[in-house]
Symmetry: C2
Subunit: 505 residues, 2 copies
């Protein structure tokens, strides 16, 4: 593909691509050769616990290997895993496994080219500048949190300037911060600058003050110069894999950067996008935030990964997997169940297929992807490839912009979690939190109902108690937090951790 | 030079070199072609304030450009500046300026390849593991501080787990932490692992507990995989410049990594090493710590940089510059005064030369290096090149290992600051701090008197009050802190900031 080499540099064992530059080049050269790849969304069943993956990355890698083996030019776009969590041992890496692996998983798992660290440093510098603004009398309350790349539960609530002013603060994991969201959603460094300028640093006499009022934006954008470039690596079989953007779809976006996906679509025919945690988390965010509100491409097909044990071993939770598959089909996205077998589960294939048939699923794709990689998938992809060929990526969807915030959350609860609006409850304090957030936005000249809603929740639950019968399930809203720069508003469900900062386990 | 290419990878606009691997290769291949370059130390007058550089990096760059222009194969080894301080605007970058610049100063100043950030993440992970050890009852008090790449004075004293346990902690700047010292001083990843294992995590019932007793060392060394590789960039004139190791010679080591210097010596005939702040800081640390205790190469020549204004505009401080020059000459290091002129100072050359002659200096090198770069130096280097050719790098020096700690500090005060031992005073509390440190070491099975002393002080002063007459100058010792993993013991002078964490200015 002409052009892309000029925007590509070697970085050790991976390459980094100036995606902003390449997409600009395509815009100013409409006749330049390019592809118009279709997006395939890889999502999963809701996991039984946060630390237990279903195998989305393994599936994504096996899938592109299998497609390339069939002569289809396919690439994957992954999010960068959190080094802190990996290093701490709280969670494995996120670079596949066994035959469905990357050539250099250690690079992806252990900090890549410093992207996350640069975002952390820039977000922390914003807090330092906010402190300076307090000293100068421009601010009296800081609203942006500091971040850390490594988990430490004791950082959830801290006091700084101990012994003098004892200012209460909180620290969040880097991938969940507003600056990471800005990097994920922005299509140029100028857009990043504008969004950073619009971030609400804090308040002065109750009125919001944006960073644009007192910082030099170049200090932040300089820090991000390399972090905005997607990394390119490959699978053991040589299929291209782009890595860019942060994890944790339960408490933030948890999707790859939009530019990484758009660049991949210009370079390949099929682009497999992995979104974080279950379909209620990353897939919901890809569809309802990235596609509806930020112009990302609607998927032409979806693969929903589960493990035999996740799907069937807890009967009270077995409703979740068919719910996810059906939900995506209802959007006219051809949706393929994929059951990722573990050692010793080969004898379950027939029974799994029978269950899938009872549920009116498409023919499921079943295999031990760790053991067999893409070879396990290749013979099962006829239906998938056919569906992909027929589907149109110009699917029908519309923005929820302007929908009143609670109505918007109720719509999410209904469409993504299966809970009707009369069972969306408001916890004590939620209304006050919403009124305060609405007022903050009004003072900042933003319509809160125009912000995209980020549901902040546990990765392992969709409702207050997923084990209850369907007609008793509820969703309770706890609080609201505005990320004006990213253009999103967080709504915390009661299942969420207020501050995503796990303990080392 | 055969061999080095195999250890070199492109990282965007710079290259990274597996120095550990290359030095191992040379060790196992004694007949492989290599050079035995001589080290030239570039140091400076004590600056008037921390944020005001004399021009060491500018000089270093101009010097190697001038030597290469004369056909001498010369390279520089610089420390990586602190992105946090640069981004915050507290201090300029450290990549030269004007004609004496690097091709891509922005890379050096803005995070390089994430080395500092990886060290920060690893040091913070150590604290997280120490917290886990507290939960498990292995520790009751944590001694290692968290670190931050960006300055924020409010972090000097913090409380974590606010509202529950309110545990007091402190945060220090990344370049000053023990893990950075370990990276600077170690010659293999195994050595880093051993040194991390020997770091004292904290105490249990008053007894020291080392990290080796409870962490997986691979988690830390994996995080550092890229950070241990020096970066290679070049000057505008194409002279090679290696960048590796952290700044801040006043409160830590502030010298480049030993492996970067050793690798450069195997590849070039002259290796110009820049050490931080004044000769009382970085040069003292290079000579008395790196050379005496860690086997680094004794300099074959030194250049002491000053500005006309630093040297002469405050008569009460004008003793410092000749003191530094004379001190290095006393070690038989041919020492060249270099006066880095600023705009509008060209007419001072004759008077500066006259003053230098009165002081019995070698013929000083004088020029506006920002404006003229190496061209300003080249015609003045005959004496320097001749001295370098005559000097032997096998100079006489000896370890201070085993010297009682206070005696050792008194020796530093006398040799590096000009204060005799009867004017080295102990502040209230110093003795208790020393007794506690000595006991901690004893319990850990370490002889405190075998550790290398790191004087922790203000960058802009050598004594309690440099403006007083020589026979009234004192040095007061405040406290002692052991970095058992790095093999050093910090002794804070009263002029030091307890925690190096500046405010944004």
């Amino acid at each position: 593909m002409t052009g892309i080499e000029e925007f590509t540099s070697q970085y050790g064992l991976v390459r980094k691509i100036d995606a902003f530059g390449y997409l600009d080049y395509l815009k100013s050269n409409p006749d330049a050769p390019r592809k118009h790849g279709k997006v395939v969304l890889v999502t999963a069943d809701t996991p039984l616990k946060a630390s237990r993956g279903e195998g989305k990355t393994t599936t994504t890698i096996a899938l592109i290997d299998a497609l390339n083996a069939r002569g289809i030019d396919a690439a994957a776009v992954l999010r960068q895993p959190s080094m802190g969590i990996t290093a701490a041992g709280s969670k494995g890496g996120a670079s596949g496994g066994g035959k469905a692996s990357l050539t250099h998983p250690e690079l992806i798992d252990w900090g890549l080219c410093g992207e996350m660290a640069a975002i952390a440093a820039a977000q922390n510098l914003l807090v330092s500048f906010a402190e300076k603004a307090v000293d100068e009398g421009r601010l009296d309350t800081i609203l942006v949190p500091r971040v850390s790349e490594v988990p430490s539960r004791s950082l959830r609530q801290i006091a700084v300037d101990r012994g003098k002013n004892d200012v209460p603060e909180r620290v969040v994991l880097t991938p969940t911060c507003e600056l990471m969201q800005i990097v994920v959603l922005s299509r140029s460094m100028d857009e990043i600058g504008r969004r950073v300028a619009a971030m609400i640093a804090g308040t002065k006499d109750g009125k919001p003050v944006a960073f644009g009022e007192f910082i030099d934006l170049w200090r932040i954008t300089n820090m991000l110069a390399d972090a905005v470039k997607p990394a390119l690596t490959e699978t053991l079989n040589g299929s291209p894999v782009y890595v860019h953007g942060g994890p944790f779809a339960n408490v933030s976006l948890g999707i790859p950067t939009l530019v990484a996906v758009e660049m991949a679509c210009a370079l390949h025919d099929v682009v497999v996008v992995e979104a974080g945690y279950g379909a209620d988390a990353g897939a919901q965010k890809w569809l309802d935030i990235a596609c509806r509100e930020y112009g990302a491409q609607w998927p032409s097909a979806a693969v929903v990964v589960t493990r035999a044990s996740t799907w069937r071993d807890d009967p009270s939770l077995s409703w979740r997997y068919p719910f996810h598959v059906q939900r995506l089909e209802n959007y006219d996205i051809p949706t393929f169940p994929l059951i990722n077998l573990w050692e010793g589960e080969d004898d379950q294939v027939d029974s799994l297929r029978a269950t899938a048939a009872e549920l009116d699923f498409r023919e499921p794709i079943v295999g031990n992807l760790f053991r067999d990689g893409g070879e396990a998938l290749a013979p099962q992809l006829d239906g998938f490839v056919a569906a992909l060929g027929q589907s149109s990526s110009a699917a029908q969807f519309h923005s929820r912009k302007g929908m009143e915030l609670v109505e918007n959350v109720k719509w999410i609860a209904k469409s993504a979690y299966g809970v009707p609006e009369d069972r969306v409850l408001l916890k004590d304090g939620f209304t006050e939190s919403l009124v305060a957030a609405r007022e903050l936005c009004r003072e900042a000249g933003i319509a809160i109902d125009d912000l995209a809603v980020v549901a902040v929740k546990s990765p392992a639950t969709m409702t207050d108690d997923d084990t209850r019968p369907e007609d008793e399930r509820t969703v309770t809203l706890k609080k609201v937090e505005v990320h004006a720069g990213a253009g999103v508003v967080h709504v915390n469900l009661t299942t969420s951790l207020t501050t995503p900062m796990p303990k080392i386990v």
